[in-house]
């Protein structure tokens, strides 16, 4: 997707969808890498990251239970991030079902990220850093939402998947 800038240059945009439990958690996730955040209707949050004047990354953050026009938007999305609270079974179930439905309908890469919050890690420290392949276009990893660097690692994992697709 692109639009023409005043000076004739073309501004390219990339769009990703961030699926999460909703509310403040989604905002915290987007704040880690989107300097510009706007509230949409309901639980929808719009974030943007201007890489430079000709390239902008747009992120839509959607709550698990929220209605969304998947048929209109899903096909043009560059990739998906779904995050959930590792210690909350309901959060995991909602995330898993949405990932399953969305990945059946669209081919864009997926990163599923489990938030450990401030709880003690559920596995040995070295396993926390695992980046687990679920398929050639889907990964699972742990992260901590309150640490911006950890959130950015999730986003970088998605970008890596996109680059691998190009190879």
């Amino acid at each position: 997707m692109h639009r023409t800038l005043d000076e004739g240059a073309i501004q390219r945009t990339a769009e990703i969808i961030v699926l999460g439990p909703g509310g403040a958690g989604n905002r915290e996730f987007l704040q880690a890498f989107c300097p510009d955040l706007r509230q949409g209707c309901g639980d929808l949050l719009l974030g943007s990251l201007t890489v430079h004047r000709e390239l902008v990354l747009y992120c839509y953050s959607i709550g698990f239970g929220q209605e969304f026009a998947w048929d209109l938007v899903g096909g043009k999305i560059l990739g998906y991030i779904a995050h959930f609270d590792w210690f909350d079974g309901a959060s995991y179930n909602a995330c898993r079902d949405l990932v399953n439905d969305t990945s059946s309908d669209f081919t864009a890469p997926f990163v599923v990220a489990a938030d450990l919050g401030l709880q003690p890690p559920p596995v040995v420290e070295s396993a926390i850093k695992l980046d687990i392949a679920l398929s050639p276009s889907a990964r699972f990893l742990f992260f901590q939402k309150h640490k911006p660097a950890s959130v950015r690692r999730v986003v970088i994992t998605l970008l890596d998947l996109l680059l691998e697709k190009l190879e």
Partner: protein, 122 residues
Amino acid sequence: MVLRINRKLDLVRALLSGDGLQELLGLLSPLELLEAYRFVQEKTIEFGVRVRGKKFAQEEMLAELRALGEAHAARTCPDQNRQCRLEQCLEGHPQCLREAAVTQILAMASVCRSFLHPQETS
């Protein structure tokens, strides 16, 4: 690919948390179980190599799986050759495949637990 992403996520969660694997395996069809076997084997080796490095005894684990298969075949194999070949039993002996696959997947989960949750197994 028969095993959908929700099932793979369930398997990863069960391996990492050390909980709920047996119940999950009970929900899978024989074909899904066969794919789950391959997936769990791949992940166990991946986790083992990443967490334990050269100390991870991959050959030892594979030998244990073979031994479990042979013991299962010696006990219940409906074929005359008495060898446990999971893929070959998909059509003819799905129940036998289920029992053999579940036993071996649980053995791999136990290996995972030994290095992912060492304090629980020591």
